[in-house]
Structures are given as structure tokens and as C-alpha cells.
Symmetry: D2
Subunit: 294 residues, 4 copies
């Protein structure tokens, strides 16, 4: 199967469950909203070494946002419910409450939720009040620079982590530029994030290592600079390789994101093949076959 | 004392000790370097609720960077040495090693250091090598998209946290714009960061609360929307109030940053007074008097 | 009439006719598309002293763009048809053809058009070819770095210039931040641009001057720093004043943009009144009454 | 000759004279200064089809700027003195005077100058005043949103246009990323601009054409997609080719920029050769030999 001359491998991405919250951070301007959303979703590429997986889902213009101000939908994800609740509290409390003109809204319809606003309000020391904003129950906390508004509860649900695909190109830079194009496209799909730096992963790993104390290590068979030293899995004409990793609110969102991202990557001259990462189906309950996306 | 018609209060910022590392993150382009540096310094406004305090110190052009590529000097800070070492390992390992074309260099002359590169190299699973880059001992770790270079050791030293000043203006937006100007100026001073979102703090706090379970709460006497409800400390004509918080590699850097930031803030029309936060000198060993900066 | 406590004056914006083209500039990434679109729409705030009025209308994600790549819809406007055609040729030929990976598509359904691609193709010196891209007739011009694609014809139609409103605030910075919020909102409305720097005008003018050689000069009655020197038209509590000027493909688009912009501006704390500029109805055929927008 | 394994061709860039002005545009924040500087230098890639060549030279932090506010040094260039003076007047008058909080300073020591501020002040309609700002004679023009300050005279001098080099890579994207790195490096050199979109030229041209009505056309021998159709000048393993074009205040600045740009480009994996464009020495008085730069 080919898209725009790019071979789509007959393989699948293997995903697994993760608990997901989706919030909208608004502010006086798009510029200020992005600052708060970026800080709140930083240091969150992978739960392996970060306290959460998080990222900006998409920009919400004033005409569509809960309070008529520009905002960014963000997602915060964790394997454990308790840790997710704590991360939301810490990231909102430390990075959004403290940010100029910011407010935080729930942006997920869900059965379960965390009492984020309900607890954060106590920072108001008795000066906090309540306000209805377009049907949402908001706590108004007076802070030094004005009022911080935070929704009473923040929803969470079972989502899907580990959606992924590989962009193999004729050079390292081709794969990077194509990965950037893929991330641009994925931002048009609501309900997904690409939590790594710039939305892309430069360092795929394998489980295990020759060093007994390492549980994971570089996947040398996918490394472009080791093609001559190892039994590579890279096609002969491939010299660039970047992975896109996707977390979503559900499998449909992850599929839509993979489809949009792959189609965009295939528009970049020099992209040769699209692959995906899996563990033979042994690890995760979700198998998203690339060729079935189109 | 006045600067450009703005009153500089006769008060001081009270700082305390913190352990500081300073690194340079380089990449193929300024755009890519910023992406890695931003992710690596996210979720790091205050050690009260974040795993570290971190931020971008300043842009390092290719002509001045350790490997001839554009980079950003970043700082990561923590009260505890052990936690600082772990944060550097996690933030470099999760947010920089994984980022496209990024590399990580030590940027601090210090007596003590963490073995960040020395340990991270094992991710290479035996394919890692060593390389001298302009006198620096770098580990070359082959990753999927190319090679990741990380310096053998990352220095740390005793620095200063809690440098601060308040920008009081004739409106909320005046204080925000002036705070942005202050942060712009502070980026010109090497060795300091303003770790909060956008470099500014919208929510100053006081210790204690009417709620017994809260150890800190909003500082109502500094809140612009509570002027009519409480015994305010804000001048009558002040309706905006933003705080700049600064961490630095030493007291001199923090002083230089406060000076540059205050001078820049005073150029914004509508700024009325500059104050500072302290605990009467009871908490921190550093007392930086505003009027002595000029 | 009030919106969120902000008085909407009982006045109208006076618009006039202008000839408008709308194009989509795509590129390999959003980053590269913005670079080309920004250069192509620069030096174009007002036809009084610029060769055109131009600006970015909105971002077009890969999932919605004519070639599956990220793009920006831009608009270029001029009073004279001939001059508009030349401006499109020059701006595409000098700023888009020359830009990395860029392509230019028509984005206007119209009865009349300019033969932009039809003429630009000759740059290919005989190596140019034709290609159908999703039903669009594109010329493929080999250039140094790859192929430049440009659509055969670029449509133009009679549009509306001079949509406007004034944002009066309690400080200069309030009006600037609110104007930025307004521009953020207007970007969500297709078919309009705000051609001035940052989308806002800091310097409203009146016709005539005490200097005989000046046909226009500062409108002192609207100047915040002249309130004490002249018979001001500004309310007593207003100390900031910014204008948003809008060009659109038709009156409905301009109205929608004014509505969205005003609503967003009214969310910024410190905004006091919204006004509009007109010449008593003597100059332009379009009268857009503020209060009728809501 | 090689730099980091990249062949530096034994050739030279051929430059010619151009008249150059250098200004600093300051504003309340870096963000606002960039907006004004970008608009004022847009539509200015080449005097062949644009009214000027212009671009941002470099960022000037508040600590180094003429009025203590963040700014951008920009350059505006033209072959003809009269046209240059008009361009400065139009670009300052239309794009900077109209921009929020902006001011315009001369940033060139020169023997000759244009009376830009001296003439622009009349927009003040009698309300204009004069002010000394750190030794500079500024005109203060009250505008709607505050005061616009512009320096009395803007200097100009004979500079050098047409500094250039070619970045040939193993793919189109390699050359683009390397060109971006080169532009990042060049921004560290004061007194130069790279006037094309994103600082790079995707479309080198030759004089003449098979079409009699075209005086210039695509340089097919440098086109990566025509390698199989024409007698190419590109090395066999080169599939990407981008040009950097530089204008400078003098030959030394252009040389320093070429050196910095080439060194940065050579750090990007996949770059193969660096070339330069000339007309055999017949056209321009400046011959800058690549290998003599190092």
C-alpha cells in the first residue's frame, strides 16, 4: 500500500490503556493562554520518567471557548487514577493558578471526575466565591493580579496510550520535517496529544539491555547511525527515522490522529516508508493496523 | 526614590539558598533547541508543588555555543542535592535525549557535579562511544534518529532563590505587560531564571490560612480585586499587581536581574510602584534592598 | 447597551469598497507556511502609504488544505484592479515562489480572476509542467530546491474595507491587550484580515491638518496623552484607545469579525467602552452599526 | 577544503553595492517590537520585484537598547538613495507609527541621513514636541494610543548586497534545515540581513530565458528535480539546494555573516557541499571567496 508514493507497512501500532483528563486553559490572549498551557504540560513526555504524560491538544478560539477567551485544550494522562488526580491538582495549582489571567475548565464529558476546583478554592482563604460561566460551576479565587477561575470538577476517563507510527526518510532531516508536518496535522484532531518534545520521539527503545541494571535501552535495529554495525531493520535507502507517539481519549481519536499524521508526513519529499511499533500483540489490548486506517 | 516616575519602595526581597545546575541544550536549529529546552523546564514553577524549579536562562547563538549549534542555557534548581540530580537525569533523559537533534552540555563551573552523562550513556546498550567536543567529554549515544550527545558530568552549586519584585500598575493589564517587559530584560542577564509561567507570578501567597489544613493561602492584602473588602497594602491608585520571582547561580546574578527587570518595567506607561516580598528578614539569609540596586 | 459591563456606543463603522483576493499558501510545515505567508503580506497596512493592504486570514490545517499540507489563507486588497493583480504577482513571485517548500492556491470563488500562475510559469524556462491537485489546475515550476506549485488563476471580487471599532480602556496597556484578544477572535472568522501591525492601529487620523501640506494628521480628540490639552472625545475614565481595522470579502464577513472581536475585547478587565469610526456616513457606502451586531 | 566533513567549494560570492539604513524599532515588550519590525520589513526580499530589500538584523535586549525597552535592529536597503528615503518614510510611517507602543531610532553611524523624523513629526498637527532620549533627538508625536517617538534623522551608507552561499544536502529537507541553522547563526552578526522569506532562497535564477519576454528564469542546472533532464551542476549525491543571500552595512559584516552561516550549516547531518553564486566576476565589485573566510 502506498500514499503519495510512500510505502505503508503491513504492521500495527500496539496501544494500551491510560487514564485521561482533558482541560481547557483560557486567558486574556492566545499568547498568554499558550504560556500557561505549555508550562502546565511540560516535563511530561512519558510516564516512564515523568510524573505524567501531557500536552496541548488544540487551540480553542474565543468564539468556541467556555468563557469567550482564547484557550488551549490540554490533556494530562497517567496509568493510576490517584496519581492523575494529584498531577491535575499540582499542574493547575502551580502552573495555571499562578499564570497571568489564566482560567481552567473541564473539557471532558465523563462519568468520573476529580474535585480539583472544589479543593483548590481553599487557596482563597475565605474570599473565594462561586460563579456560573455558561453552565459551568466555577470557583472564583481572588489572587494578587485579579481573579482565578477554576471549574469545580475535572473529568477523567479511560483512554488509549501508545498510538504510534514511524516516519522513515531519505535523511535525518527529512524525517524530522515530516514528523513536524504530522504533528501539525494531528493538532487538527480533537482529543489527542503527542506528548514528546515537539510531538516526536527521536529515541525508540527496546526492552532489556546488555547491562543488567537497565530495563530498556536503545533499539539499535532502528538506529540510522548503526545501520552498518547491526542487523538493521531499516530499509537500505532509509537514513532518517522519527516516531510519533499519541495518547487519546479513545481509540477512534487515536486512529484519526494516526491517519491525519501519516497522510501529512507522506506529503514531505523524501519520506520513504511508514512503520509502527508493537510488541507482537503481547502487551497492549489495542492493535491499530496502519493499512486499515485508509 | 523614583525611576522614570515610578516609585521604588524602600523594602527588600528576601532570598534563600537553593542548589542550581545550568546546562546548555543545543539542536540543529534554534526552533528545535527551544522545543527541547521548553519541555525539559516545564512543570517547574515552584518546588512547593513541582518536582523542581526550572526555566530557560538565555538563548546561545551558534557562534557562542559549545558545539557550533544554536542552544538555550537552562537552569534546574532544587533544595536537595539528591533530588536535583534525579531531576536532571529525568529531564535530560525524558525530554532532551528524546528530542530531535538535541544535545546536552554542562554550563556551570563548579566544584561538584552529577554523573548525568556517565549514567545516561548506558541507554546506548554498548553502542555508546565517547567524543571530545571543544574540550568537553561527551558520550555519544546512538538513538533511532541519529546520535544523542550528553556531557559526562553536570555541575551544580549553591545558588540563590526567591529574588523578587512586585510591579504595581494602574490596571491589571499594565502590570502584566510590564512584567513581560521585565522578563524580556532579565533574559539578557546570564545565570538567572524566572521559573513561573511566562516568568511572572499572578498569585502571591501568605503563610497560613483560616482553613487549618492549608499551610499557605492567597495574600488578600495584595489582591487587586479585594481592595474594597480587606485592609489592603496596595496604594489607592494601583489596580494591577504582578510578581517576578528569580532564581540565580549567585546573589550578584539575582541582583543584576532584579535591576534589569525593574528598569524595564518602569518604561511601561501606567506602572506606579515597585515593591518586593520578604518575611521581615526572618526566613532567608539574603536581603536584596531595591533602592540599593541603582 | 452593554456587553460584560462594557458600554457599546450607539455609533457605526463606515466602510467602503475594495478589491480583494484570497489565497492559501501551503508549505511542508506550519512553521514554513507562516514564514512565507508573513513575508507575502508584509508592508501592507494601508493603501495610503503601502502598495497593498494584506494580512493572514487564518491557519488552514493539513486536513483541510488544498494539498494536504499546512497552510495559511491570506488576503491581498487594493482599490484598483490592475494594481491588485500586480501586487499578487509580485508578492507571490518574490515572497512565495522564493520560499522553502511553499505553494500558492486560489481560495476565492469569484467571477473574475488574475492569470497569476499562467504568467508565473514562464519562470520555469520551458521546464514547467501542469498538474491537477484535487481539481485545481496547478503549474509546476522547477526551482533550485524542488518544485514550486502555483494555481493557474487567482480570483478577486469586490469586498469591503474599513470595518472598525475602538477599544477604550482604563489604561494604554488594557486597550492593547484587549485589541490582541480581539484579533485572536477575528482570526476565527474566515474571509477577513486586520492588516495593521499586530492587527491593531495605534494612530487614528483625521482628514486635514494645520500644516497645509498634510492631507491627514493625528486625531487629537482621540489621543489619550492629549486629554488635558484638547477638547477630547474620550470619556473621563478612559486612558487607553486602540482601533481594529478590518477588510473582508463581503459585508457579512466584516460584521461577523466585528462582532467576534468586540465580544472578545469585552472579556478583558479594564475595557470601558467600544466605539467606531465614521465620517458621518458621507464617505463610505457601508454603515455597520455596533449595537445591531448583537 | 572541508568543514566538519562538508566540502567548501573553491569559488566566490559576487556582491555589489547597495544603499543601506539600519534602525532600531523598540516597543513595550519583545513580542510587540517583533510585530512592528516584521511588518516594517515585509514584502522586501529583492529589489527586482519588491519596493526594497529589508529584514530583521538582530534582537536588542532592553539592557542595550536606546530607550531601555526591547527592540529589533532592522535594515532597509535600496539601490537608489531617493527610493531608500521614501521606503524608510513609508515603512516607518505606515508600519511602525501605527503599531502599539513602537518607537523608531537610527542605528547607523553615517555621514549622510534622511530627515525621517523631521518630516514625520508633522503628523502631530502641532501637538508634536521634542525630547532627548539618551543623547538622541526624538520627535514625540501624540497618537491615539499614546506617544510615538521617532528619531530626527535616519542614517544611510553604501553597503554590500549579494553576499551568498549555497547549501547542498542529501535531501531537500536537509538543505532547508541547514539553511535555517545558517540564518540562526547569521542573526548573531550585527549589520547584516537575509532578506528572503525565512532568510533563505529556494529559487536561484539565471539571466535570460528561452522566452524572449523574460529577463531572468529558473537556473535549471541548480534544480534538484531536474537533475535527470539537464546538464546539472549539482554533485551526484546532492538532492537538496538552498541559497542564503546576505545584505550588509559593509563587506566585513557580509564576510562575517557568510563565515558564521556556513559553519552552522556544516553542523547539520547530511550537508554535503557549500557553493556560492557569481557571474564570473563581471557584475559586482565584491568577490568573497569561500575558502578565504576560514
Amino acid at each position: 500500500m502506498e500514499i503519495n508514493g510512500v510505502k505503508i507497512q503491513d504492521t500495527f501500532a500496539e496501544g494500551f490503556g491510560i487514564k485521561v483528563s482533558r482541560l481547557i486553559i483560557t486567558a486574556a490572549t492566545k499568547h498568554l493562554a499558550k504560556i500557561a498551557a505549555t508550562e502546565a504540560t511540560g516535563f511530561a513526555t512519558s510516564v516512564i520518567g515523568c510524573p505524567a504524560e501531557a500536552g496541548i491538544d488544540q487551540y480553542i478560539p474565543p468564539t468556541e471557548s467556555p468563557d469567550g477567551r482564547p484557550g488551549y485544550a490540554i490533556m494530562i494522562c497517567h496509568m493510576a487514577k490517584k496519581a492523575l488526580g494529584e498531577q491535575i491538582m499540582d499542574r493547575i495549582g502551580q502552573c495555571v493558578l499562578t499564570a497571568p489571567t489564566a482560567a481552567a475548565f473541564n473539557a471532558l464529558e465523563s462519568e468520573e471526575s476529580f474535585p480539583t476546583g472544589k479543593q483548590l478554592k481553599f487557596f482563597g482563604d475565605g474570599f473565594e466565591t462561586e460563579k456560573d460561566v455558561n453552565g459551568k460551576k466555577m470557583h472564583v479565587i481572588p489572587i494578587m493580579s485579579g481573579d482565578f477561575l477554576v471549574e469545580d470538577e475535572m473529568g477523567w476517563k479511560d483512554g488509549v496510550a501508545g498510538g504510534n507510527f514511524f516516519i522513515m526518510g531519505d535523511s535525518q532531516m527529512t524525517s524530522i520535517v515530516a514528523a513536524e508536518a504530522a504533528v501539525d496535522a494531528i493538532h487538527a484532531i480533537p482529543g489527542v496529544i503527542t506528548p514528546f518534545s515537539g510531538g516526536m520521539v527521536a529515541s525508540g527503545s527496546k526492552t532489556g539491555s546488555k547491562y543488567s541494571f537497565m530495563s530498556a535501552s536503545t533499539n539499535e535495529k532502528e538506529c540510522v547511525t548503526l545501520k552498518d554495525q547491526v542487523e538493521t531493520e531499516l530499509p537500505e535507502n532509509v537514513f532518517g527515522n522519527m516516531e510519533i507517539v499519541i495518547d487519546g481519549v479513545d481509540e477512534e481519536s487515536v486512529k484519526a490522529a494516526m491517519k491525519a499524521g501519516i497522510e501529512a508526513a507522506c506529503q514531505v519529499p523524501g519520506v520513504i516508508e511508514i512503520g509502527a511499533g508493537n510488541y507482537g500483540g503481547s502487551l497492549g489490548p489495542y492493535q491499530i493496523h496502519l493499512q486499515e486506517l485508509f
